[in-house]
Structure formats: structure tokens, C-alpha cells
Amino acid sequence: MPPIVHVRGLSKRFTVHKKAPGLRGSVRALFVRDKLVKDAVRGVSFEVGEGEIVGLVGANGAGKTTIVKMLAGIIHPTSGQARVLGHDPWKRHNDFRRQIALIMGQKAQLWWDLPAADCFLVLKEIYRIPADRYRRTLDYLADVLNIGDELNVQIRRLSLGERMKMELIAALLHTPKVVYLDEPTIGLDLSAQRAIRGFILEYRERHAPAMLLTSHYMEDIERLCERILIMREGEIVYDGRLDQVVRKHAGYKVLTIHLQEQVQGVCETPELAAVGEVQECNEELIRLHVPRREAATAAAHLLASYPVADLTLEEPEIGDIIERIMAAQKGAPA
């Protein structure tokens, strides 16, 4: 099946004006403006297929949202190509716009002064949704997201969680084939986050859209995405299955031992440093990163050296690995 989102060598360069702080800087800026050129995205290429949820992961300023903005047609790229549902997004053809949705956790798209029900009716007209389909879809979305009387409350009077649910309904009323989710759970409490995640999965199950998700919450990524793109300084440094990121980028396992009794000075013993990198150590618990190939030897060595009550050997947290990759300096091994 051909990919729905097809990106080749996409780049975006922003030029912003700098201003020195203070009154002097303000006065100077009236006459001379210094430019700052920033390559937000550098030649990225990837594809997203039908029913796929791809996570865009990266530190702040890595270029995730810029990619989403380009693929939604909001901003024009500096170079490169992108085809979404066969369209150039930034040409903003109505046929393209009728099939996409953008959900932004940090920015309300609905009209603040209107109740959600009125906003949805405006969207019904914008997307030309037939009345019976509109009613069916709205009932379904409201039911899944557990929305009731809130539909008749002005958007600005809703809680953040309720507003986000309304944004989701608004974005999906027209059953888009491509959905961009930019930080959809930001600022939400745990139960609201879970509800939104569950809803996204259910929606994917039912309609199989191509979805591109950016989030700083690793749980969003872990629960929703099978595939991730890790971005660093505008470039994609990893594109692959989420479970394979461990194999590819984590050459270690996490070895944890609980001691039977308190052992004085255990953290200073040279055996520990010899078997791995100590992450956490006190008189009752030791946690190490040990080389993957030497994990069994390291475990046997520690069992023989200390009074061990319990020993576990685990794969590292995916979030930790991603953070390591993101935090690594450009050019340095991740």
C-alpha cells in the first residue's frame, strides 16, 4: 500500500531578528537589526502509511512541530518535497484540507466565545458533512470521550481536559485520513491523558488514518506508536520501530540487586565499577548498566560477591534510551 505521507529532503530555515536587552538594545534595534538564521529542519525524509501512528520525538527546538506545520500546509518549506494524500500541503487545496486534521495541545483552534456545539455546527458547514453523518459521528465521539452537557458551555469556560476533548471532536468530525497530533496530552492530568490515548487508539482502529504524533510524554509514545522518528537539531537520527530502538541504541541492560542485609561500604567496592556503570547505589540496593553481552557474567559475579536477596536483569526504559539519543551532542555516538 503506498504511503499517505511522503517526505523527501524537507528543510526549513527561519530568519529571526535579534534584539539586545535593555533600553540601549531597543534604541539600537530601531536603526540596525541583527539577523539570526536557524535551520529548524534539515533535509528530512520519511513516510507514513495508512493506519500508522508515527511518533516524532525530540528535545525542544528539534524541529518536530516545524515538520507538522509544513505537512499541514501552515508554513512553506525552504526546500524539499512533501506529498500528503497526493497533494503539496502548502498549496492548501480544499480537497487536501478536507482530509486532514491538526490537533494542537498548546493552542485552541475552536472559537473561545462559542459553545462547543455551535463550533461543531460551523465545522459541519465548513466540511460539508451531511446532517445524518454529522449527528452519528458527533454522538459517537461524544460518547467515547464521555462528553455530555459540556457541549453547550462556551469553550473558554471549559477545563483544559474538557477543552482538549472538544478539540479532538472538532478535529475528527469530518473523519480525516491524516491526523497531526501536536502534544495532545500536554498539561492534562493522568486520567485525562489515559482517556485521550485510549480514544486515539480506538479512532485508529475504526478509521485507520495516518497519524503523526509529537509529544514530550514518553508514555504517549510508548502507548500509541509502533514506530518513532527521533529528531535532533533538525535532523532525523532514528527512524524505526519503537522496540528496535532498544536493540540498536542501548548496548546495555539494567541489572538491579537487592541485598539481604545492609553492607557497609558496598558502593565503594571496586567490583561494582568493574562490571558496569553504577546508576544507583546504597547499602540495600544496587542498580547498574552492564554491557548487554556481559550481562549474565556480571550477574553471576555479583551473586558470588554479595549477599543477594533478589536480582533482576531488564531492558532499559525506552524513554531513557530516547532521552540519551536526544541529549547526545551532534556528531557524538548516541
Partner: protein, 270 residues
């Protein structure tokens, strides 16, 4: 944009503004009374000081009629500018939604702009009736059904003209963070050259002749003259043609500014 969507947006906007009852009555009443009061006392003093009963061809009552008509018609021409502040949409990044939604930004905003006119129309009728009583019915004798019908035509055109005249200035927000000062400047220019501050009859003849060919007087002065029955059929047709010409010119400018500005848009806030 389908006519159905246009009417829907218009109706939603009307309902939204009508729901702010306190603002609907209080703000408008205070605004109108403040303007009317200032004009009344200013011209009363000027007539008294000049010791003439006619200034620039206007008696005191005619002058009041001019200003009341100008204030009320300008309300219909300008609408509630806040509701359609295009620059604000760009500055705050909410312009993004109109890029995502399959609809025309300008038609959407114009539907909103027209929706905001419904409450303004009610206010115009209420304050117009109150002012008519205050000024005295004799002064209103020149207003006829025909002049009211002609006024409705020119006000509709003036409304669109004003909208497209402002849009390029608002579009500067693609490049500059704040276009408020430009907006004030434009409002001032329209006020001075359009007849909202002074009837254009008080200007030198050469200026009056020049202003006929510029767009500004079709915002206020021309509609007021049409309303009070001072514009005949041919002059009306010429005025309408000039206003339509400028509307087309500014619509072209809007297109250019927006096309270039769009390339600068960064969708702030997300």
C-alpha cells in the same frame, strides 16, 4: 465558501454579540452619547462665536443631522472592527485554523464582520430615532424612502470598501508584530478625508474636487449626503462606480499582500 456556510457564520456571530447584553446597550449608549455630546457642544460654541447662522452651508440643526448620520452610518460601515481584526489572528497564530479548514479566510472573516452588523443595525435604529426626536423632525424632511434605499446600497458597498481598505494594513502583521499604530493612522486618514471629522464642504474647493476621486469620502461623507437627499441619480451612479472601482483596487492589493505575507507566516503559538 458556500452561501450556506456564509450565512451560518454570519448568524453565529450575530447571536454571539447579542448575548453580551451589557456591552450591547451600555457601551453603545455611552459611546454614542459621548460623541454626540462633544459635537453638540463644540458646534454650539462655534456657531455662537461666529455669530453666523450658517457655516459651510450648514445650519446648526443640519450640522447635527450630518454628524448623527455620520456616526450612525459609520457604525454600519465599520462594524465591530474588533471582531474582524485580521492582524490579531496573525499575531496570535489563530490564522492557522483558517489554513487548516477548507474555507476562504477572507470570506469567513467578512461573514463574521457582517454578522456583527446586525446588533449595530438595532443600535443605529434606536439611537437614530432618539436623535431624530432631539434634533427635530423638520430637519429630517429631506430624508425619503428613496434616499434611505439608496443609502442602503452605498452603505453595503462602503462596508466592503472599508473592509478591503483595512485588510492590507492588517496584513502588515505578517512582517511586524504590532500594526496598531498603522491602524490608527488609517482610521485618522479615513476620518479626515472621509468626512467623519468635518463635513467635506468645509474644505477648499480643490480638495473637495480631488476627494471625489479618492476612496475615503465613500466611507462617510457620500453615504450621509445620499441619506439626506443631496445626491441625484447620476451623481449616485458615479459615486457607486468610484467606490466599486476602489473596492476592486484594494481587493487586488489584499491579494498581493496576503500572498506574500503567507510565505512569512510561522504559526506562532504552536
Amino acid at each position: 465558501m458556500s452561501p450556506r456556510l456564509f450565512l451560518h457564520v454570519l448568524s453565529v456571530e450575530t447571536r454571539k454579540l447579542m448575548s453580551y447584553r451589557v456591552e450591547f446597550w451600555l457601551n453603545t449608549a455611552v459611546g454614542f452619547l459621548a460623541q454626540f455630546g462633544a459635537i453638540y457642544f463644540l458646534w454650539k460654541a462655534m456657531f455662537a462665536e461666529s455669530e453666523h447662522s450658517i457655516i459651510g452651508g450648514y445650519s446648526f440643526d443640519e450640522m447635527l443631522l450630518y454628524y448623527v448620520s455620520a456616526i450612525l452610518l459609520t457604525k454600519l460601515v465599520r462594524g465591530r472592527e474588533r471582531e474582524s481584526a485580521l492582524s490579531q489572528e496573525i499575531y496570535e497564530g489563530s490564522y492557522t485554523r483558517y489554513i487548516i479548514y477548507p474555507t476562504s479566510f477572507f470570506r469567513y472573516k467578512y461573514a463574521q464582520h457582517l454578522g456583527a452588523l446586525a446588533p449595530a443595525s438595532v443600535q443605529v435604529m434606536v439611537f437614530g430615532a432618539a436623535a431624530a426626536v432631539a434634533i427635530g423632525p423638520r430637519t429630517l424632511e429631506t430624508i425619503s424612502m428613496t434616499s434611505v434605499a439608496m443609502t442602503m446600497v452605498i452603505v453595503a458597498i462602503a462596508n466592503l470598501l472599508h473592509f478591503v481598505m483595512k485588510a492590507p494594513v492588517e496584513g502588515v502583521a505578517f512582517w511586524a508584530d504590532n500594526v496598531w499604530s498603522l491602524d490608527v493612522m488609517l482610521r485618522f486618514i479615513i476620518g479626515i478625508l472621509g468626512g467623519a471629522m468635518l463635513p467635506l464642504d468645509l474644505y477648499p474647493t480643490w480638495a473637495q474636487e480631488l476627494l471625489v476621486w479618492l476612496p475615503f469620502q465613500y466611507i462617510t461623507y457620500f453615504p450621509v449626503r445620499v441619506l439626506v437627499g443631496e445626491v441625484g441619480g447620476i451623481d449616485f451612479a458615479i459615486g457607486v462606480a468610484i467606490a466599486l472601482f476602489w473596492t476592486a483596487v484594494f481587493a487586488g492589493v489584499v491579494r498581493i499582500v496576503w500572498k506574500r505575507g503567507d510565505l512569512q507566516y510561522t504559526g506562532v503559538g504552536i
